[in-house]
């Protein structure tokens, strides 16, 4: 994989909402990349900046967001795209699947219309051709009785079916990058697994690169090639999934792994404490206040991203020690 150009890349991305002393620093220097055909899982607690980072990739943040740093998809700087090129990127080169299938679809348009509209926007062609393509992708995501569902309104479908529709819509124009932002969080457990299996299968079948945002380490272990763990707007650790989940380097990753529900169903205690206020992030490591291994140096300055193995980095001043340990 070395030498090949990344499909998408964030370079020191910073996103701030609002201005002045009460501005929320949602993302504070995130660098990551996805290679073509690769699955990257973005892990982290609620509010750590996962969705904001994803939206930045398609320039979908609201106007009050101040974005700095590099955002590239297929070598193009997303921030500098013209209106037309941006539209070609959105839904064409890269597509997004959202967390809430209940609200992600327009309630007054049929499922078929909403998919076909995307097809016509990107490929032109007749309405009939777009509708035929819509039917094709509904079949692809295994919506049963797809021909009839084409004329259904979102409220007539179950949550799982709606999410399949959202996925179909994303795949309609054969994107090379799929951004899936917690695509299963809002669904029942059994449906979650079906959707994940579907997504993983389609990703392989179509050879897409994919960024999957999730809270669920089990999902990450199952699906991804690499993982990036976010905490308070920064990536604290990233690397190949096996290495990171088997031998976590950062104390936060270790805490996450320890707080996963165990096989016997007993919920293990989470990490004590809560993440910092992003309006006033600490000058040092954001996790220091909750970290069992914190030392004086942790609060002095934000630890730099250090290489801790092939394709692995971590932001922790005690990295050298823990690898040795």
């Amino acid at each position: 994989m070395t030498g090949a150009a990344p499909l998408a890349e964030l370079d020191d991305l910073r996103v701030q909402f609002g201005a002045g002393p009460d501005a929320v620093q949602a993302v504070r220097g995130v660098s990551l990349h996805v290679m073509p055909g690769e699955v990257l899982c973005l892990l982290g607690e609620s509010g750590s900046g996962k969705s904001v980072s994803m939206r930045a990739l398609l320039r979908l943040l609201p106007p009050q967001a101040r974005v700095t740093g590099g955002v590239q998809v297929e070598g193009q700087e997303v921030g500098r795209l013209s209106g037309r090129a941006l539209r070609a990127l959105r839904g064409g080169t890269a597509a997004m699947v959202f967390q809430e299938p209940m609200t992600a679809l327009d309630p007054v348009y049929t499922v078929g219309q909403q998919i076909a509209e995307s097809v016509q926007q990107h490929r032109g062609g007749t309405r009939a051709a777009a509708r035929a393509r819509a039917l094709e992708v509904l079949d692809l995501v295994r919506v049963p009785d797809a021909a009839r569902r084409l004329d259904a309104y979102p409220h007539e479908l179950s949550g799982g079916l709606r999410q399949r529709v959202v996925i179909a819509m994303a795949l309609a124009c054969r994107p090379r990058l799929l951004l899936a932002d917690e695509p299963t969080t809002a669904l029942d457990a059994t449906v979650q697994i079906q959707i994940l299996v579907l997504l993983r299968g389609l990703q392989r079948e179509l050879g897409m690169g994919m960024v999957l945002v999730t809270h669920d380490l089990g999902v990450a272990a199952e699906v991804s090639d690499r993982v990036a763990v976010m905490y308070a707007g920064q990536i604290v650790e990233q690397g190949p999934v096996r290495d990171v989940l088997r031998r976590p380097v950062h104390p936060y990753t270790r805490g996450l792994l320890a707080s996963v529900v165990r096989a016997d169903g007993v919920e293990a205690p989470g990490i004590p404490g809560s993440p910092p206020d992003l309006r006033r992030p600490p000058p040092g490591c954001a996790f220091a206040a909750r970290c069992p291994a914190a030392v004086g140096a942790c609060s002095a300055a934000v630890p730099a991203e250090q290489k801790v193995g092939p394709g692995r980095t971590a932001r922790c001043v005690r990295v050298g020690e823990s690898v040795a340990a």
């Binding site: 959202f98 309630p107 007054v108 509209e117 926007q121």
Partner: protein
């Protein structure tokens, strides 16, 4: 959907009945004895008794109401106290004249109001968008708060008196009977009253459209639309289709208001519509005309609301498919 229609129709019936009852009771609610207007001041007791019987005032109220309702249902409200002409003719003619104004004022105010509101609601972020939004919102607030009869007078002074571009009042050479919207000269008489009448609806519709558009634009699915790569125009189309039922409700109210004519604006332009008729009937204590006019206008309102309800139901797939 058929059930929906049936239910809404059933709802409308008691409302119509209630309105009729209120109109009937006007005779008793209005200050003064209704007989006084028809009796000579020096009438003796016997004469009062005769007149009472002739007008049916001697019967119990429910019977009076039933008789009144029966006649009203046939368009018979009796004679105008002031003109001695049948109320149905007076009201019918006035309504027709008001309708002429409404036919122009409704599309004008809907188009301008919805257009301005959409523009303000979809204004792009940044200084230009904010300025545009303020401009539109300001205009809308002014439309609602400036008294429209006053604006009517100002328009008359500017365009009729000072500039002599347009006639100040009336319905043209032929008057009410000779008026035709197909005649170019007669159309000139419409301009000032139509513009004046449209002012308030424009303001109200613009403000509520802006609010509805902003509300819909904040919903999640709009991000999905953008993520699909749709043009801003296509996104606005989605937003408007979602905002339409809410806008329709507001427009329905304004439609009813315009059909009712304006008691304050029509007299400014000496336009012989239902507003002018109502005003005169109030001054003359012309109870039969008041009854006929108010009942007709109220029924127009009820019918408009019914139509709005049904249109809304037809627009919303969640109702339509139920």
């Amino acid at each position: 959907m058929a059930r929906t229609i049936l239910w809404r129709l059933l709802y409308a019936l008691p409302i119509a009945f209630g309105v009729s009852l209120v109109c009937f009771m006007l005779v008793y609610i209005a200050p003064g004895d209704p007989l006084q207007t028809v009796l000579p001041p020096d009438a003796n007791a016997e004469m009062i008794e005769i007149v009472k019987r002739a007008y049916g005032f001697d019967k119990p109220l429910p019977v009076q109401f039933a008789q009144w309702l029966w006649r009203a249902a046939h368009g018979d409200f009796g004679l105008s106290v002031a003109t001695r002409r049948p109320v149905s003719l007076e009201v019918g003619g006035a309504l027709a004249n008001t309708m002429v104004l409404a036919v122009f004022a409704v599309p004008l105010s809907f188009a301008v109001g919805a257009g301005l509101g959409t523009l303000a609601g979809c204004a792009p972020p940044g200084r230009l968008g904010r300025t545009l939004d303020r401009l539109v919102t300001g205009t809308a607030v002014m439309g609602v708060s400036v008294p429209n009869y006053w604006l009517g007078l100002v328009l008359v002074i500017v365009f009729a008196v000072e500039l002599s571009w347009l006639p100040a009042s009336g319905m043209g050479m032929g008057g009410s009977d000779g008026f035709s919207v197909l005649r170019w000269a007669d159309l000139h008489y419409l301009v000032l009253p139509v513009v004046t009448l449209a002012l308030v609806p424009v303001g109200i519709i613009a403000r509520s459209t802006r609010a509805a558009v902003l509300e819909v634009r904040g919903q999640d699915f709009v991000t999905t639309l953008r993520a699909k790569g749709l043009t801003e125009l296509a996104v606005v189309r989605h937003v408007l289709k979602n905002a339409a039922p809410g806008m329709l409700a507001v427009m329905g109210l304004q439609f009813g208001y315009l059909m009712g004519g304006s008691i304050l604006v029509e007299p400014v332009f000496a336009w012989p519509g239902s507003g002018t008729l109502l005003g005169r009937a109030i001054v003359n204590r012309d109870v039969p005309v008041l009854q006929g006019a108010i009942l007709s206008l109220a029924l127009i309102f009820v019918a408009t609301n019914l139509a709005v309800d049904l249109l809304q139901a037809a627009m919303d797939p969640r109702v339509r498919r139920a």
